[in-house]
């Protein structure tokens, strides 16, 4: 199938919203960009290590076995404002009351109908303006057709975390979700996402952090083995703002998480991190592109992947420091821990720097469990499988430590431990 056919067939799977509203033009622009440029293929540098074929596919996704753990959302014990999506469709009946000081949440489709809605000017714009450097036409596809999603405006320091929980009940469901989030001046929020969205999903989040605003984003991607998901976080950071985003991924056949961070205001901070455990034919790709356009800003990328049984881990991380972005502090580390000889870790760290007074460092390592450390633990009576788990957790801890909240850190560590115990039984 020629490339254009792939794009055409994929587009044919969807229809643009029929009614006329302000989002029509944004959607038409995204569709036209997609038509012009086509969906990605494996020959592009940007997709060198992960084949986009199944994201592009117009055929139904592989049948998923539904993991029973979806019934117990990981953040259920945290006091939060909960929003529920079932197979990619917002379920307001099972969601919490959304009234909370400093918080305005509306479904995307509803926001699109309101001609005075604040998200006009954000929806499709943060994504669209990030298309010039590297084409991301799967995100254009999302902007053109996604009607599910949330618009979230934070106007103050919100007292409870906002928790978006995805349930997955249909074995071959496919979802497009598009969130638009604005954190206004001096406001702060914690956003949690958990669960498997659907068998195949394409999820875009557009984030705008205004002066002095901050967002803690913690995401746990569901663990169904056949899940295929591509996610994008497009973000613009203004003066003194701070974005921290952490993702835990446990299994899933194919995952590509992209982070596009534009640091536009002075003294802003962006931390993105991930802890990934993959087994058996699993492929996980983190692609990060951080652009420093203002001086005195800091960015951190910390990604740790534990792989076994032929799992593949990919990391592509780029720091672009523009002229004038002096005193930039950019840090990047990606590490793969292989539990056997069948797994792969592929890393492509990139620095592109046009300012002469910056600190930018990057590191990437790939290795096995340290036999000396393992012997030390077992010589004290800790059985080998447990000792290995301790070392695996220790390895992932550096990424988990990127999370600010101790409560959430513990929940994440516990989920990982459970996963490892379950693995011993199987």
């Amino acid at each position: 199938m020629a490339k254009d056919d792939v794009t055409k067939y994929k587009i044919d799977c969807y229809t643009l919203p029929a009614e006329s509203n302000w989002a029509n033009q944004t959607r038409a622009d995204a569709l036209s960009w997609l038509n012009q440029n086509g969906l990605p293929n494996g020959r592009e540098e940007y997709w060198k290590y992960t084949n986009p074929l199944s994201f592009n596919s117009s055929k139904p996704p592989l049948k998923n076995e539904i993991d029973p753990s979806y019934k117990k959302p990981i953040f259920d014990n945290i006091d939060c404002v909960k929003l529920v999506f079932v197979d990619g469709v917002l379920d307001l009946e099972n969601s919490d009351d959304l009234t909370l000081t400093g918080l305005e949440i509306e479904p995307l489709a509803k926001a699109n109908k309101n001609e005075d809605h604040w998200s006009l000017g954000y929806f499709g714009n943060i994504e669209g303006s990030s298309q010039k450097v590297v084409k991301k036409t799967l995100a254009s596809l999302n902007t053109a057709f996604a009607v599910q999603g949330l618009t979230i405006k934070i106007t103050d320091k919100v007292s409870k975390p906002i928790s978006v929980v995805y349930y997955h009940t249909d074995q071959i469901s496919e979802a497009l979700i598009h969130h638009v989030i604005k954190i206004e001046k001096n406001a702060h929020a914690t956003l949690l996402e958990s669960g498997g969205i659907s068998s195949r999903s394409n999820c875009v989040m557009e984030l705008s952090l205004e002066e002095n605003a901050s967002l803690d984003h913690i995401r746990v991607q569901g663990r169904s083995h056949e899940r295929e998901s591509i996610t994008y976080i497009f973000s613009n950071l203004e003066v003194n703002s701070c974005l921290k985003s952490f993702t835990l991924t446990v299994n899933g056949r194919l995952t590509r998480n992209e982070y596009i961070v534009n640091i536009n205001g002075e003294n802003a901070k962006a931390h993105v991190g991930g802890a990934i455990v993959g087994d058996n034919g699993f492929s996980h790709d983190d692609t990060v592109f951080i652009t420093h356009s203002a001086p005195n800003c800091e960015s951190r990328q910390v990604f740790k992947k534990v792989l076994r049984n032929g799992a593949k881990g990919v990391f592509q991380g780029k720091i672009l420091v523009k002229e004038g972005a002096q005193k930039t502090d950019g840090y990047q580390i990606s590490q793969g821990l292989m539990l056997d000889e069948d797994s792969n870790f592929l890393a492509k760290p990139e620095l592109e720097i046009y300012a002469d007074d910056v600190i930018c460092s990057h590191g990437s390592t790939c290795g096995e469990i340290d036999p000396t450390a393992l012997f030390y633990l077992t010589s004290r009576g800790i059985p080998k499988p447990e000792a290995q788990d301790m070392l695996v957790l220790a390895f992932l801890n550096e990424a988990i430590d990127e999370i600010t909240s101790n409560e959430i850190k513990e929940i994440i560590s516990k989920r990982l431990l459970d996963w490892m115990l379950k693995r011993h039984k199987s």
């Binding site: 000396t372 450390a373 012997f375 030390y376 633990l377 077992t378 010589s379 004290r380 800790i382 000792a387």
Partner: protein, 251 residues
């Protein structure tokens, strides 16, 4: 307690023979010291006894309390009462010292059919024992051995020994990297653990440590076997005359 009979060992990767028929019997409550020049096989002996991978036992047997331990995993030997204080204690970033100690202690208790200690019970015991070794709360909280000084690492080894209460303790050059005061502190920690039912095998280059931990027997090891055995005076002889004279005598 520990009976080593004609132990022959080679390195797995190189087929290089390291131990050439070691014979040694350690009875309950006894303290034995092994001295010997570099490369004589002392550390290898300690690793083989505690179950480190990478060695092939080509001949001989080792039993602890009548049980053949050579086919056991290192953690099984530990549960049986074997303990090795490392010459170079390993730094493990990301694993808290307390978590490590508690997991180790409870793993052994579980293996021996005893009830596991709760967090509170454990904390009480560990604080008490840490105090005697001048290990403060901060050292207990930090990741295992990370950023510890040489002395702190060795004290941490003795703390583990005190917590796990092994039957058979092997000290592999515990004096290396210690100043006089630190050595005394470590030696006092070891002496406090001496009892009729606990045995020690102290591996050292120098007689100095044996002033503090006085052995019942001293063995000289060279080229992978014990060439001479005696009482504590033998260590003094080594200190005064060096190894070369002894080696010449026994050749």
């Amino acid at each position: 307690m520990l009976i080593i009979n004609n132990l022959n060992v080679e390195l797995q990767e190189e087929n290089k023979k390291i131990l050439n028929g070691v014979n040694l019997e350690i009875k309950p409550g006894e303290v034995h010291a092994i001295m010997g020049p570099n490369g004589s096989g002392k550390s290898t002996l300690s690793y083989v006894l505690s179950g480190k991978d990478g060695y092939n036992v080509t001949e001989g047997t080792v039993s602890l309390d009548g049980e053949n331990i050579l086919n056991m995993e290192s953690y099984e030997r530990a549960a049986l009462g074997m303990f090795l204080a490392f010459q170079y204690p390993v730094e493990i970033p990301g694993v808290g010292n307390m978590t490590f100690l508690r997991t180790a202690l409870n793993s052994q208790r579980k293996a021996n059919g005893k009830e596991e200690l709760s967090a509170a019970e454990f904390l009480k015991v560990v604080r008490d024992k840490a105090k005697n070794l001048k290990i403060d709360a901060d050292m207990l909280k930090r990741p295992v051995n990370v950023g510890f000084s040489g002395g702190e690492k060795k004290r941490n080894e003795i703390l583990q020994m005190a917590m796990l209460e092994p039957k058979m303790c092997i000290l592999d050059e515990t004096d290396s990297g210690l100043d006089v005061d630190a050595m005394r502190l470590v030696a006092n920690g070891v002496n406090a653990l001496r009892s009729e039912s606990r045995s020690f095998l102290v591996i050292t280059h120098y007689q100095r440590l044996l002033d503090h931990i006085v052995p019942d027997f001293v063995h000289i090891m060279a080229e992978g076997r014990i060439i001479k055995s005696g009482n504590a005076d033998l260590a003094l002889e080594v200190e005064n005359n060096g190894y070369s004279q002894l080696l010449a005598e026994c050749a």
